[in-house]
Assembly symmetry: C2
Homo-oligomer: 448 residues x 2
């Protein structure tokens, strides 16, 4: 068997940070001056393949995740790809249920564990010469179900129900795969960053519409009057045929959310994203009830830190759009569980994109969901942001408002060497001569 000899020989972890805050790209009410960044893991092997993954971050703290990944990699150097591919749940549990490390919980620990798990999936896909989505699509339903830790989930979705969902989609999978090789997942664009003017946003939307996009998201939250004025301007400018969504990035408490959202009823918005804290399940339920008759439903997930939080958001009806992230939870295994729960509850999977190469990852989940789980593309939108695509050997491609199905083996996450030289923190050329107050934890945001 071709993989028999593939052993992990060493791990290399990079801290990459891009000073995107110079242009105020990516700004929102909480993340005032983000520097799009990534903890990058390379697993070297004794074969021609290398396992790669990233954890997307917004600057300071990337080194915390790098520290964790390096620690965890002690558990993987010397293991084989075959061991992993035989039963990926074993590595998942070895990390997530480590009898001492599990004390560290979600956040840094789960993200670091996800990096290791995702790099192994990357390696496996490369050894099969398949893009990651294709590896997932080709897995047996029972194998997928056995990748999932069911302990805390089976009250919402049983293993048998998951297998049934996958089997049902499988009957139509060849046709769906052929269709998606023509048109990949439908994309939406985050166009309205806080730091931009109305005119800049409209110009961005007009450019994107000419490229075939019809769904756009705005950042809101800090100033009710200004937000409402902007939404009115944009809805009038783009007309009734575009999808408009807004994202408050958890800036409101529940009373403020209700106050702001009452003023949002007139603009035919599709969803309200992260109106409140990422872990406030009962808060989402309360908002869903209050705004049951509004045009919009609620979306969240990019900061939902565990499958258990997703389970509750989905089973309670609190959210109607499930925004998985590729690097917040513990890798492919956790995302499989979340996508399957979303399918059970009929909630469209609309992955969170952004930053450095995050879109390169989520496109695979969009493909897998739309071919092999939900088995359709009628309701899902996958976030698309064209930031920093020059950083990777295999940039994301879009056509007519859709992703183009990726073809590079694995995640397609290989970085361009010059990019690494420039943005490695803190010694890359982009950082070496910067003021200390512009780097790391002591780079504190100036409010407006």
């Amino acid at each position: 068997m071709v993989n028999r000899s593939v052993q992990i020989t060493s791990a290399n972890v990079l801290d990459l940070r891009v000073p995107t805050s110079d242009q105020m790209l990516g700004s929102d009410p909480f993340h005032l001056q983000p520097d799009y960044s990534a903890a990058v893991l390379h697993l070297q092997t004794d074969s021609e393949w290398r396992g790669e993954s990233i954890v997307f971050t917004v600057g300071a703290g990337t080194d915390w995740i790098c520290h964790g990944i390096e620690d965890l990699c002690q558990l993987i150097v010397g293991t084989s790809l075959d061991d992993f591919a035989e039963a990926p749940i074993r590595l998942y549990q070895r990390l997530i249920d480590h009898h001492q490390l599990r004390w560290l919980h979600d956040g840094v620990f789960r993200m670091a564990a996800g990096a290791v798990i995702n790099a192994m999936w990357d390696l496996w896909a490369k050894s099969q010469q398949k893009p990651l989505w294709k590896l997932l699509v080709d897995l047996e339903p029972e194998f997928v179900a056995d990748c999932i830790d069911w302990r805390n989930l089976r009250d919402a979705l049983t293993r048998d129900e998951a297998v049934a969902i996958l089997r049902k989609a499988r009957t139509d999978a060849p046709r769906r795969e052929a269709e998606m090789l023509q048109h990949g997942p439908k994309a939406y664009c985050t166009a309205g960053w806080l730091g931009l003017s109305d005119e800049q946003i409209l110009a961005t939307i007009d450019k994107l519409r000419s490229q075939g996009f019809d769904s756009f998201k705005m950042k809101v939250g800090r100033d009710l009057q200004q937000d409402v004025r902007r939404l009115r301007f944009l809805r009038e400018a783009v007309g009734p045929d575009c999808n408009l969504m807004v994202d408050a990035n958890q800036y409101w408490g529940i009373p403020e959310a209700k106050e702001h959202l009452e003023a949002y009823r007139d603009f035919d918005l599709k969803w309200i994203e992260e109106p409140i804290a990422r872990d406030d399940v009962l808060g989402y339920v309360a908002l869903a009830e209050t705004f049951a008759d509004a045009s919009f439903d609620f979306a969240c997930g990019e900061h939902a830190a565990s499958p258990v939080i997703f389970k509750q958001l989905l089973q309670s009806g609190g959210i109607k759009y499930c925004q998985i992230d590729a690097t917040r939870v513990a890798g492919v295994n956790d995302v499989m569980a979340i996508v399957l729960m979303a399918a059970k509850f009929g909630v469209p999977v609309c992955p969170h994109g952004g930053g450095i190469a995050l879109c390169n990852m989520i496109q695979h989940y969009g493909m897998w969901d739309q071919i092999a789980v939900a088995g359709h593309s009628e309701t899902q939108l996958v976030e698309y942001i064209d930031f920093l695509q020059e950083s990777v050997e295999h940039p994301v491609q879009t056509r007519d408002g859709h992703y183009v199905a990726p073809t590079a083996p694995g995640w397609g996450l290989e970085f361009v060497p010059g990019f690494v030289d420039q943005y490695r923190f803190p010694d890359g050329t982009a950082w070496r001569y910067r003021s200390p107050t512009r780097k790391g934890v002591i780079f504190e945001a100036t409010q407006d």
Copy 2:
């Protein structure tokens, strides 16, 4: 003013780990071989006082938290105690809402932020020559309320309600303080660790009863028949007058929890602790409904990672015992919010103890709650474990089953120098010559 000149001049972070797993102390279904450990922060100042705090852990991963604390300390070196004491919320928000770091969430990030915040509270209390509980008791109600970040909490508790709770307790505070200087918070003991035999547990209980304790907790979860047999044995051995509680440490999913707990109805148990995942709010609600007519209610919180999770557990009625931890959330400020929410919902605060010096910290919260918030001692039990009290200059003391009110300034967390020399990781004498497979992340538990 005496504090005017107190400046933070440097920070020193220690990784302390005790190989407690040699004796299987502290074992539970998930934490099979814990090594009780702590990330220890010392803030040096230009005064005679030093700010100290710890984050309790169970071995591997302590270095992750140390890394984080060191990074955060860049924000505090050079600041003054006066700046902190004027408005502690400013430091809290500077850390928790840091525009880039907040991406890291709860877990390692919140614990590290808590270490910094708690060390500043320690320094403040020392500069006032007061134990921490006394500093808190003497604060004005409005000042306490202004220490809290209300953004995500005010749907459950408003600032005005918090002030009213504190004002009400204040009318009786001098009497309560005098009473608690006679008898501190009532304690309970975790006696039934998984690694011990029935007879060892009973001997421990008998010894503790002779010291005045009447409330005992067992670890359960992995083997229904064995757990039931043990509970029957212990209830018969101790008679009907002791409080017996059990702790499953999140080992069950909801269906397993229901199955196990049906078999627990006969033993007059007081509470079931962590039957399910720490963040499964709706799961707690479901269990509370299913077992509404049982002798027991539900307890959790030692792993609840944010005030928002506590808010939901309290407002939903999912838990009837609120188990705050001293080092899981972001320090005194977060705990103030949680204790006040518990008071609003009439839920007793029963802090989580253990490990290295955790009991030394939680006793202050028990004192504050029972004097200045709940204002009574009728329902609360504070966990007491006598592990490793030789590690500190000011060991916890108990008398007649109660804590003795601590009198050392601050938290009373000063470690004995010889203890540090022995258990500093990885170069202390207890670690230097140990096998690599017995240290850190690659120390993997053997199942039974």
